[in-house]
Structures are given as structure tokens and as C-alpha cells.
């Protein structure tokens, strides 16, 4: 029943790619279009409206700055996790992947605090279109963070058994997860100035 699909581990010589690496790049291209569409919607709504609220009145810049640092750190640690596998150091992989997961959780907690503050002030998506866009963009981003967290947790826990049976394929999976995590990070780096600083 099991079928051998070529180029899951080794690269195809003429394309220089493994299947997973190509697929994750394609997926990210689609994600760029998704967030790109929402960013364009934001730009169009903001530039077309007669009255756009002062964004700074609604957002918590120090908290978001802290969150930015947390997320950038996690991007670094996930690279370290992948590099550890490349160097055959499984223990330090666990450490760095663990840190990445912790940072992701930390981001979510801080984000939860921020949302809590919004609701305390009765700021809801329906309040105005800035808050609407704020909740849509950050909400979708949170969904992506959660998705990444689930994958990273899997690769830290049960998924890591693959290291014993198919180390190259496992390294490929961690690489793909890392690419995705960088993308999630990158989206935040766009969101932060657009929603908090401008």
C-alpha cells in the first residue's frame, strides 16, 4: 500500500528542490496574496474614508514592541533548531525548538492581554473600520501562529521520533516548518508598523 514518492528526501538534480521545500514556498506565495489582499483592503479603506481614527488611541505600542521582540527571537531559535539537526545535535535541537514553542506561546499570551484590554474599553471589530481591520489582520495572524505552534509542538514531541528512522526527511520537515515560521514572523513585521505606528 505504501508508495515511494521520489524527492521527498533528496533533491531532484535538475530543479535542485525537494518536494516539501517547493510546496512550502508555493504555499507561502499563496499566503502572501492573502495577506496582500487584506493589506490592500486596509489601504483602500483608510485612504477612501473621510474619517479615520487616530490609531495610536486604540493600540498598546509597548506591548506590541515586546511581542515583536519575542517573535523575532523565535525566528532565530527555529533556525538554530534546524542548524542543530544539520550538525546532528539532537539535544540542542530539542532545546531550541522548545524555546521556539515557548516564544510562540508567549506571543499568544501577550496578544491575549492586548485583546483583553480592547474588550475592557469596549473596543470591538464593529466599533470602527480601523478596529475592524485590526481584529481581522491580527486575528488571522494569530490563527497562523497557532497553526505554526501546533506543527512545532508536533515536531518537538511525537514527530521527533522520525529523527531515528529518517533523519534527512525529519530535517526537511523542520526546515519547512522554519520557513513557515519566518513567514508568520514577517507578516507581523508588516502588521506592527501598519497597525501600531502609522
Amino acid at each position: 500500500m505504501e508508495l515511494e514518492i521520489p524527492y521527498t528526501v533528496e533533491e531532484r538534480p535538475d530543479t535542485g528542490l525537494t518536494n516539501a521545500r517547493l510546496a512550502i514556498w508555493l504555499f507561502l506565495a499563496s499566503e502572501v496574496m492573502l495577506f496582500g489582499s487584506l493589506f490592500s483592503a486596509y489601504v483602500l479603506l483608510r485612504s477612501g474614508s473621510e474619517f479615520w481614527p487616530r490609531q495610536a488611541d486604540y493600540v498598546n505600542i509597548p506591548l506590541a514592541t515586546l511581542n515583536t521582540i519575542v517573535l523575532i527571537t523565535s525566528s532565530v531559535t527555529i533556525v538554530m533548531a534546524w542548524a542543530s539537526l544539520k550538525l546532528q545535535q539532537f539535544r540542542s535541537y530539542r532545546l531550541y525548538m522548545g524555546l521556539t514553542v515557548l516564544a510562540g506561546l508567549g506571543f499568544l499570551i501577550l496578544k491575549g492581554v492586548e485583546y483583553g484590554q480592547k474588550f475592557e474599553h469596549h473596543y470591538y471589530p464593529a466599533t470602527n473600520n480601523f478596529l475592524g481591520m485590526y481584529f481581522v489582520l491580527t486575528g488571522l495572524h494569530i490563527a497562523h501562529v497557532i497553526g505554526g505552534l501546533v506543527v512545532n509542538l508536533y515536531l518537538l514531541g511525537p514527530g521527533a521520533r522520525m529523527w531515528k528512522t529518517a533523519p534527512a526527511q525529519f530535517t526537511g520537515r523542520v526546515e519547512a516548518a522554519g520557513l513557515y515560521w519566518h513567514f508568520v514572523d514577517l507578516v507581523w513585521i508588516f502588521l506592527f508598523p501598519v497597525l501600531y505606528l502609522l
Binding site: 500500500m1 508508495l3 515511494e4 514518492i5 521520489p6 524527492y7 531532484r12 530543479t15 528542490l17 518536494n19 517547493l22 510546496a23 508555493l26 504555499f27 506565495a29 499563496s30 499566503e31 496574496m33 492573502l34 496582500g36 489582499s37 487584506l38 483592503a41 483602500l44 479603506l45 477612501g48 474614508s49 473621510e50 474619517f51 470591538y124 471589530p125 464593529a126 466599533t127 470602527n128 473600520n129 475592524g132 481591520m133 481584529f135 481581522v136 488571522l140
Partner: protein, 575 residues
């Protein structure tokens, strides 16, 4: 019975998934077609009770068998949605793409079999969601398949469910397109270089890119509309609306045109998603049945890629009447004319390919041949709609309906029929019945033109689309109103002739002529696999190696008039 489930329900094999897609989408095509048959009654005989079945729809939809506008608008919106998103695209891409593409590139399966299964089940879920919306209070979505706000904002709950269904379908197509591209790029057989790919594979590749990059715009739009409807945001809702005599609550400040931009950014590339796989099918069938290569293969590949790129730059030609200034309208008129060039090139190449051939008129070939003039009519009538000035007169008239139906119905759907007749022996090991097939073709060809040709006459006279009474109120279309009855009877005639197809599909399973592995004596790798290739045991007896281009038919100096792609060059064979 775990093996049964594993093999036929939750199969990972691309062939089973392809057949699942094909059967499901054929059912949806029939369902979407039936919705239209109901609408055509109301158009031909407005206000008269539906005969025989009128009582089935309940008081909310058709009291006394007379269809209400509420029901008519649901049928209209869902006809479009079902045909495009649940019928044609899943059949062309999910069905044919899944089954044929891996075979044609000599792969043992798709790159990600589990993703493949997930895309089918997400599609299934999306379809069920859409169907289920009919039984909601207020029924299914009723704001057109385009779902323009604010109308869709005020619509019944069916619209929210429609958005949910779209979300499943978009996820399904995202997974599918990633899988398709990866498979084509990575799993091509040794020797199968880019310019040795059958045109069908090129069509699927460009289509997958369009799905990958255009659908996210609709995903974003659907998300925003769902926010508007569920959480009361105002992304598409301007301030100061008065609806039903009451001032609309809400923050306001939104822009209804934002939806249209996002929607058409998807929906225009979607047109090429509908047409490129169809062209691929037509090329495969035409080369096999003219016994010669396609004319200008590289030119056609280039045109298909160019079409793909350009299709991202023409979306606003659907929006000329939304208050567009000179410069923007000039841009979109110009890009629209530019995109017509590769279409003209592809169509010309198909016509020219016939010259010098030795044409076999079997059923798949008849449908493929009919595609050429039908797509030609559909394409050419797009010109007056793509120019902003003439669009003023023709926008929202039946001319538009005629135009895109010629592209999609006697165009794409005919190509899909051709594909079913052509690859049926690959799937089942038996040929479909030729006599039934030819009756199906002849009846379909006559009646489908009977439906759509009069639409141009009505549209030019200024009859508008989406009218519950078929335009009976308006004096200026009095002289063309009588066509409504003609078109409706043509539609029912078309329905009747589809029975020949349905019977044929089932009958030939048992009584069809055994086909062998290559009944059409074709050259591409799909025909090198055994007929009805075994499930999940690889597609080929041994991994194929490709030695030549896709269409080596009638090569001088050889005994047979075709040389399959995996056959090595022989002495004395002209290169």
C-alpha cells in the same frame, strides 16, 4: 471493511481521487443544470405554476407551484456558484488533472497523496455546505454568484453559509494547486523536459498557478464579508444607508467597491481556470484523432503562460460602470485587448492543426471539434464587453450571459465531455458506446446553441439579465421576448439528451468494447500505462523514460503512424 474504505473512500491514490472528483462534480453539474431548468420555466412562462413538480418546493419557495422571486434569485445565485466552483473546475482540475496528469508525466502518484485526499474531502464538505443552505430559513444565497454587498449584507442567513462553503472550496483548491505544481515540477519522468510535456499538463500547470495566487483574494474578501455579516463591521458598508425605510446602524465608512475589486481579482483568472484545462483536453484529443502534432506547440505554450500572467491584470473590465475615470478604464480596456491576442493565437493554432490531418470523427473528437467554433464565438463576443464604450450599452444584458456561457458551456463543458469519452477506457478498460455518444453530441450541439444564440439577440435589444419575469415588464424588449420560450424548450431538450450520456456511462461499464491500454493509438505516457491502472501499485509496469516530444504522429519512415513518448529513436526514423 477497512480495506474497502482505504481503497475507495479515503484512498490516497490519485486515480481513485480523480474518479471521486469526477463523479462528484458530474453530479453537481447535473444539479446546477437542473436549477437552470427550473429558472427557464419561470422565464418562459412567468407566473404560471411549474407543471408536475411545482408542489415539491414548499410554500416558502413556490406557493401553488408558482415560483417566487425569493426562490428565483436563490436558483440564479446557486446555479452560478454550483456550476463554476462545484462543477466545472473540480471536474477539469480535480477530475481530469488528478487522474491524467500524473500518468502523463510518468509519475507513480501525486507528490503529496494525503494532501490530495484532504483537498477532495474539503471540496466535498464545501459542496455539502452549499447544498445544505437550501433548507435554511430564507433559503440559499440569493445575491448572485458575485455576492455584491450591500445586497449580500442584507441577505438571509444562506449568504453566511455560502461564505463558509467558499472557505472550504478555497482551502481545497489551495492544497490542490500546491500539490499539482509540485508534482509537475518534481515528478516528471526522466527525459520529460519542459517542452516535451503534453499541452494538457501545461494547461494544468498554468491553471494551478492561477488557483494558487488568485483565490486568496476571494478568501480575504469572504473573510471581510463574513465579518460584516456576523460581527457587524462595515468594511463594505458606507455610512448613511437607509434600508427598508430605516437608517442602517453600524459604523459605516466602508466601500462596496472593495468587494468587487477583490472578487474580480479572483474571478477573472477563474475564467482561465475554466478554459485552460479544457484547451489541454482538446489538444490531446485533436492530436490523436488528426494523427499529427499540434501546430505551433511552443507558441501555444507561450500563449498559455502569457494568458496566465495577463489574467491578473484585467479584472476591472467587469467594473467599467462603477464610475471609472478615463485613465483606469483605458488601462483595463488595453489589457483586455492584449489578453485577447494569446487567445486568438491558441484558437488559430487549433484550427490550423487540422490542416493536413487524417481526421477520425469519433465521439470525443466531435466534442473537441465543436469546442473550436463555440469557444471562438464566446471569445469574440467578449470584445464588445471588454471595451468600456460598447460595454455601456451591453453591460448586464443577456449579451453578457450569452458570451460567457459560450465560453463555459459549449466551450469548456463540451471539452469536458470530450475528455470523459476519451479517457473513459483508461479508467474502466472499456470504450463508451459510439452510437449513444454521437446522439448525445448531435442533440447537445443543436440545443445548446438554441439556448445561447438568442441571448445575443436579446442582449443587443437591451434585455437585462437576472430578471424574475424574463423582461416581460419592459416595452423596449417586446419584440425579442418570444425567444424566451424557444430558449427554454431548447434547455429542456438539452436536458433530455444528457440522458444518453448518463445511460452510456453506466451501460458501457459492462457492455463497452474492451479497450486495451491504448485504444486511440496515442503517444502520451497516460496510454503507456495499463488500462484501468491498478490502484496504489504504481501506474507503470516499469518506470518510463521519455525519449521524444509529446506528439510524434505520422513520422515519415516509420511503420506505425504514432510513436509513444517512451520509445527510443530508431534507425531510419526522420527526426
Amino acid at each position: 471493511m477497512p480495506t474497502f474504505f482505504r481503497r475507495y473512500i479515503f484512498s490516497l491514490d490519485h486515480k481513485v481521487i480523480g474518479v471521486q472528483y469526477a463523479l462528484t462534480s458530474l453530479v453537481f453539474l447535473l444539479f446546477g443544470f437542473t436549477l437552470m431548468l427550473l429558472m427557464r420555466w419561470q422565464l418562459a412562462y412567468p407566473g404560471q405554476p411549474l407543471p408536475f413538480i411545482g408542489g415539491l418546493f414548499g410554500v416558502a419557495n413556490a406557493p401553488g407551484g408558482v415560483m417566487l422571486p425569493e426562490f428565483y434569485n436563490q436558483l440564479g445565485a446557486m446555479h452560478g456558484t454550483v456550476m463554476v466552483f462545484l462543477g466545472v473546475v473540480p471536474l477539469a482540475v480535480g477530475g481530469f488533472g488528478n487522474y491524467v496528469m500524473p500518468l502523463q508525466i510518468g509519475a507513480s502518484d501525486m507528490a503529496f497523496p494525503k494532501l490530495n485526499m484532504a483537498s477532495y474531502w474539503l471540496y466535498f464538505l464545501g459542496g455539502v455546505t452549499m447544498l445544505a443552505s437550501f433548507v435554511l430559513p430564507g433559503g440559499a444565497a440569493n445575491s448572485g454568484w458575485t455576492a455584491y454587498p450591500p445586497l449580500s449584507y442584507f441577505a438571509t442567513i444562506g449568504q453566511t453559509v455560502w461564505l463558509g462553503g467558499m472557505l472550504f472550496l478555497i482551502l481545497s483548491s489551495l492544497l490542490g494547486s500546491v500539490n499539482f505544481i509540485t508534482t509537475i515540477v518534481q515528478l516528471r519522468a526522466p527525459g520529460l523536459t519542459w517542452f516535451r510535456l503534453p499541452f494538457f499538463v501545461w494547461g494544468q500547470l498554468v491553471t494551478a498557478f492561477l488557483l494558487l495566487l488568485a483565490f486568496p483574494a476571494l478568501q480575504a474578501a469572504a473573510l471581510l464579508q463574513a465579518m460584516d455579516r456576523i460581527f457587524g463591521t462595515s468594511f463594505f458598508m458606507p455610512s448613511g444607508l437607509v434600508y427598508g425605510g430605516k437608517v442602517v446602524a453600524g459604523a459605516g465608512g466602508g466601500n462596496p467597491l472593495l468587494w468587487q475589486h477583490l472578487f474580480w481579482f479572483l474571478a477573472h483568472p477563474e475564467v482561465y481556470v475554466l478554459i485552460l484545462p479544457a484547451m489541454g483536453i482538446v489538444v490531446e484529443i485533436m492530436t490523436a484523432n488528426t494523427r499529427k502534432p499540434i501546430w505551433g506547440y511552443r507558441l501555444m505554450v507561450g500563449s498559455a503562460i502569457f494568458l496566465g500572467f495577463m489574467s491578473f491584470l484585467v479584472w476591472a473590465h467587469h467594473m467599467f460602470l462603477t464610475g471609472m475615470g478615463t485613465s483606469i478604464s483605458t488601462f483595463f480596456q488595453t489589457t483586455t485587448m492584449i489578453i485577447s491576442i494569446p487567445s486568438v493565437i491558441i484558437l488559430s493554432a487549433l484550427f490550423l492543426s487540422l490542416y493536413g490531418g487524417s481526421i477520425r470523427f469519433n465521439t470525443p473528437m466531435l466534442f473537441a471539434l465543436a469546442f473550436l467554433p463555440m469557444f471562438g464565438i464566446g471569445g469574440l463576443t467578449g470584445l464588445p464587453l471588454g471595451l468600456a464604450s460598447s460595454d455601456i450599452a451591453l453591460h448586464d444584458t443577456y449579451y453578457v450571459i450569452g458570451h460567457f456561457h459560450y465560453v463555459v458551456a459549449p466551450g469548456t463543458i463540451f471539452a469536458l465531455f470530450a475528455g470523459v469519452y476519451y479517457w473513459y477506457p483508461k479508467v474502466t478498460g472499456r470504450l463508451m458506446n459510439e452510437t449513444l455518444g454521437k446522439i448525445h453530441f448531435a442533440g447537445s450541439f443543436v440545443f445548446i446553441n438554441g439556448i445561447f444564440m438568442p441571448m445575443f439577440i436579446q442582449g443587443l435589444a437591451g434585455m437585462n439579465r437576472r430578471l424574475y419575469d424574463g423582461g416581460a415588464q419592459y416595452a423596449h424588449v417586446k419584440d425579442v421576448l418570444h425567444w424566451n420560450t424557444f430558449m427554454s424548450w431548447s434547455a429542456w431538450g438539452l436536458g433530455l439528451f444528457q440522458l444518453f450520456f448518463i445511460v452510456n456511462v453506466f451501460l458501457s461499464l459492462r457492455t463497452g468494447k474492451p479497450a486495451g491500454s491504448n485504444p486511440w493509438q496515442a503517444t502520451t505516457l497516460d496510454w503507456a500505462a495499463t488500462s484501468s491502472p491498478p490502484l496504489a501499485h504504481g501506474n507503470f509496469a516499469s518506470a518510463p523514460v521519455v525519449h521524444r516530444g509529446p506528439y510524434d504522429y505520422s513520422v515519415p519512415g516509420t511503420r506505425e503512424d504514432f510513436i509513444p513518448q517512451h520509445v527510443e529513436h530508431a534507425d531510419g526514423e526522420a527526426r
